[in-house]
Symmetry: C2
Subunit: 248 residues, 2 copies
């Protein structure tokens, strides 16, 4: 039955138009999968110089505040894992892995104090360079829910992907001028060759235009991306997924 429920929730996510709707759907999933708390947090690059952080959660406010003020994101082992992996992970596993690390032990212990005893974390990585985490947690103990956690994992993971796409859709016209930068065909071509180590002159020979034209296109790209020089231009273009140097 849980399977059917997830399909319905995902279906409602694809129609969601506000953060509240997404929040509600997450709450329902949380309940149906037998968890108490959820937190969706994402880091979305923008054309400005700082990424946008978006949170949707029913975590205890005190824990959120403490996490923020102590800058726990830097030491949170769950974040560290999710930043470099694509597989969901149980907090049980995280705790075991970080057994010898004092920071990790202390952190997980403190989280338990706020009712975040066991749970899972699901990473999201998009080709646009976005990074998100979806946490589902329970006040119950590890050993009790571990088997259950493994069973719901697949559904939680699929749901997570749709949450992220819903968030992108909701915020697209609202706050974020994210991957919305429209580079012209020529600008992308220039960027690809420059990101591949070619100089402006070399690129001009490849594309059969003058060196000045390459400089021109690179300048336009930089302006659109709101950056100041060539290195930053390719860095931004790559991290926004506007070009994929390795495929060229």
């Amino acid at each position: 039955m849980a399977i059917i429920c997830c399909q319905e929730l995902i279906s409602s996510l694809t129609r969601a138009e506000t953060v509240d709707e997404i929040h509600l759907t997450c709450s329902e999933l949380c309940e149906q999968l037998g968890f108490d708390r959820f937190l969706y947090g994402s880091m979305i690059p923008t054309t400005f110089n700082k990424p946008h952080f978006i949170y949707i959660s029913n975590y205890p406010a005190e824990w959120r505040a403490r996490y923020e003020s102590e800058n726990y994101m830097g030491i949170d082992p769950v974040v560290t894992h999710c930043a470099s992996h694509i597989t969901p992970v149980t907090w049980d596993y995280i705790t075991q892995m970080g057994q010898q690390d004092e920071n990790t032990r202390q952190f997980m212990y403190e989280a338990k104090g706020f009712g975040l005893n066991s749970g899972i974390s699901i990473p999201v990585h998009t080709p646009q360079g976005e990074f998100a985490i979806f946490n589902l947690s329970s006040i119950q103990n590890n050993s009790y829910t571990n088997k259950h956690i493994l069973q719901v994992m697949p559904h939680a993971q699929l749901f997570t992907a749709y949450v992220h796409e819903a968030v992108r859709r909701v915020f697209a016209n609202d706050i974020l001028p994210l991957g919305q930068v429209n580079l012209t065909r020529r600008e992308k071509e220039c960027l690809l060759w420059v990101a591949d180590g070619k100089t402006a002159w070399e690129t001009s020979q490849i594309l059969g235009v003058s060196e000045r034209t390459i400089v021109f296109h690179m300048q336009n790209s930089a302006e659109k991306l709101n950056v100041v020089n060539r290195a930053q231009t390719v860095a931004r273009a790559v991290s926004l997924g506007l070009i994929t140097p390795q495929l060229a």
Copy 2:
């Protein structure tokens, strides 16, 4: 029961040490979820100038050959979708979306001729810039298996993530010197500021060293990454996930 099976298969993936073991596990999943064919294909960036393509599949050899010789990857609507999305997709959906596009219709029709009638495709995107697709397909018709497909989707997606990690592990010591480049702390710091548009002099002021030292670290980074200039260095570092400019 399918749930339990997937857990076991995933568990065996985490232990897999050869391509054949992965192939076998995929075959079993394929069977257990009621599909005939599977194809795992991935594009993994390397420190060399061309990415590595890895395929594990039991697709018909004739179709694979035709796909290759006709360079279908460029027009395959499934690849196009998966390149920019993180959610799994049914071929039914792809077909509907591409109804007005002659290329898409032709392509999907031809695939059916090889017994690839219906199926799902699951995209994988890693923070290291890797891109993979896992296809599961059936010789049966759309309408018959569509509901079934939605039910197995979550398990297939979770499985896919583990397939990819298994492939990375198997090929890590074998062919690919991929994200294995070890940049030092200082090199990453320099890269981050340079990718953020800072000149060598500006970076030197930020890090409290001489301009020459920044140049030195950038040179070492470039050598490790096998690239020729600064633009390519940051492009490569970003696309390999060695630095994440937006988080800095």
